[in-house]
């Protein structure tokens, strides 16, 4: 079946260091979405990427969608303690609309 793989599963960084999580799909995606989930919370939408090779920035966060629309990445520059949480990518295949989530990358930031 269709899968979305996400690595790493965990990432521990010192405050100020950079962080990257990678997402790879077994099939071409129509779009990919990124969510952040704080401990005890629910997924909160961060961004959606639709076009091949698309790059979007939100302050210290940079999101990329691969040329083949099968992979994506989220890069955080100079992490802060407020960045703590689990980051999920979620792919959408065709016009189906349902999100196929990766297992997430849990980020911890040491002050």
């Amino acid at each position: 079946g269709q899968q979305v793989m996400q690595i790493p599963q965990y990432q521990h960084v010192q405050e100020g260091e950079d962080f990257t999580t990678y997402c790879n799909s077994s099939t071409t995606l129509s779009n990919i979405q990124w969510y952040k989930q704080r401990p005890g919370g629910h997924p909160v939408f961060l961004i959606q990427l639709v076009k091949s090779g698309e790059v979007k920035k939100q302050k210290r966060l940079t999101f990329q969608f691969g040329e083949a629309k099968k992979n994506s990445s989220l890069h955080i520059t100079a992490t802060q303690t407020t960045d703590v949480g689990t980051y999920f990518c979620a792919g959408v295949r065709g016009s189906q609309g349902n999100l196929i989530f990766g297992k997430g990358t849990k980020l911890s930031v040491k002050p």
């Binding site: 079946g1 129509s30 629910h42 959606q48 999920f88 959408v92 016009s95 349902n98 999100l99 997430g104």
Partner: protein, 117 residues
């Protein structure tokens, strides 16, 4: 403008019982999707409702059923509960775009934490 709401927030049931979870979508949204998130895992798609019909379904048994009402709110029913059904159940709402392509962002509710003993 209220976001996605879910009730109850927490629920404890025993094996074999039945449970109903409720979701009200974000204002202006007409599509409701349900997800199950086990501890330490990503959300898994259960099914999606649009125009009061189940439009898509993930890999979940028939014990999981749902309903959508004319006001777009939705219910998730789980029969014959198993210990493995313990999870966070998330409802996400979105708006179906013209042309049948659903690229609209899905917004998640706070979830219902179900514990099956």
């Amino acid at each position: 403008d209220a976001g996605v709401t879910q009730s109850p927030t927490h629920l404890i049931k025993t094996r074999g019982q039945q449970v109903t979870l409720r979701c009200s979508p974000k204002s202006g949204h007409d599509t409701v999707s349900w997800y199950q998130q086990a501890l330490g895992q990503g959300p898994q798609f259960i099914f999606q409702y649009y125009e009061e019909e189940e439009r898509q379904r993930g890999n979940f048994p028939d014990r999981f059923s749902g309903h959508q009402f004319p006001n777009y709110s939705s219910e998730l029913n789980v029969n014959a509960l198993l210990l493995g059904d313990s999870a966070l159940y998330l409802c996400a709402s979105s708006r179906k775009l013209a042309g049948g392509l659903n690229h609209e962002t899905q917004y998640f509710g706070p979830g219902t934490r179900l514990l099956v003993l």
